[in-house]
């Protein structure tokens, strides 16, 4: 293990710590809450976002590998999800459930908002209610799939008929659930996406 010189890294609240000064790692790498670091000489998990300055007393190439792998693994488990539903109550329940799984969920209330958000952000997974104002979920999905044909999507509806639900699957939804559905089923589909 080749030791490197002590490196002092500043981090403001929620700002990423930058690994760009670490020899061999010229790219910008970020260290966030939950990752491991050497803090005041002690190997520890970085848990306190209020720490304004972290002094990494010693660092070596194995540790850098470990940190980067941890970051990749954390990022790998966290799925960025766009959820579109005009029923705020249902949206809140699904959002809270998925956030418990450590996913990041953005909620919008209609199909137009869903498309606009999708254009302006990167999402790993899309959840769309079928019957929504302005633009329905199936039409929103058609546009989203033209922007990114690979993005996995699940649709759901409480009011749509079987034909409407089947249409959303034809447009690229991996599954269409009848509301209300078992949230565990939804989580399993997202989990299977993560494991791929």
């Amino acid at each position: 293990m080749a030791s490197m010189d002590p490196i002092s890294i500043s981090a403001l609240l929620n700002d990423p710590l930058n690994f760009q000064n670490v020899p061999g790692y010229p790219d910008t790498r970020s260290l966030k809450v939950g990752h491991f670091a050497i803090l005041k000489g002690k190997f520890t998990r970085f848990i306190n976002p209020r720490i304004s300055k972290i002094l990494i007393n010693s660092i070596n190439s194995n540790l850098v590998h470990f940190l980067l792998n941890t970051m990749r693994r954390d990022k790998g488990n966290m799925v960025k999800i766009l959820l579109a539903d005009d029923d705020n109550n249902f949206g809140t329940v699904i959002k809270n459930e998925l956030e418990e799984e450590r996913h990041a969920v953005d909620v919008v209330n209609d199909g137009v908002e869903a498309v606009l958000r999708f254009i302006n952000n990167v999402y790993d997974f899309v959840l769309l209610d079928i019957r929504m104002p302005r633009l329905n979920g199936t039409d929103a999905l058609r546009i989203i799939k033209r922007i990114n044909p690979e993005v996995p999507a699940i649709t759901f509806s409480g009011k749509a008929g079987d034909l409407e639900m089947a249409e959303s699957v034809r447009c690229g939804a991996m599954k269409c659930f009848r509301k209300p559905f078992e949230i565990a089923q939804l989580k399993n589909h997202i989990k299977s996406y993560v494991l791929k």
Partner: protein, 119 residues
């Protein structure tokens, strides 16, 4: 679907929730068990929320009734209060509002062992 969302959210908070699909089943449940809260929609099949509210008010130890109304129905809200509803909430942001009400109750004199009937 509102009932399902609400039951999910309140169960998640650790409350014991009994969920029934109409007014007459709500009355049946209320007769069998004491609830700290009854959350009821006003428009329901069989027996509407007004009848549920009226029946609860006639019991010996009436549950607190939270009435669910559509957005912007000021007259309905006022009438619900006059008829003894403890609170009313509007449909679009039901869960957040009810959580607020719960936290107010938890910070008050009532303790945390609350029991809900949602219809």
């Amino acid at each position: 679907l509102i009932r399902w969302s609400l039951a999910q959210a309140l169960s998640k908070e650790g409350y014991q929730v009994t969920s029934v699909e109409d007014g007459s089943k709500a009355i049946e449940a209320i007769k069998k068990q004491n609830f700290d809260f009854v959350i009821t929609d006003l428009v329901m099949p069989e027996l509407d929320g007004w009848k549920v509210l009226e029946t609860i008010k006639q019991t010996k130890s009436p549950s607190r009734v939270i009435v669910i109304t559509a957005h912007g129905m000021e007259d309905t809200m006022r009438m619900a209060k006059e008829k003894g509803a403890w609170a009313y909430v509007e449909k679009p942001y039901l869960i957040e509002k009810i959580k607020e009400i719960i936290s107010e109750v938890l910070n008050g004199e009532y303790g945390s062992n609350l029991n809900f009937c949602s219809s």
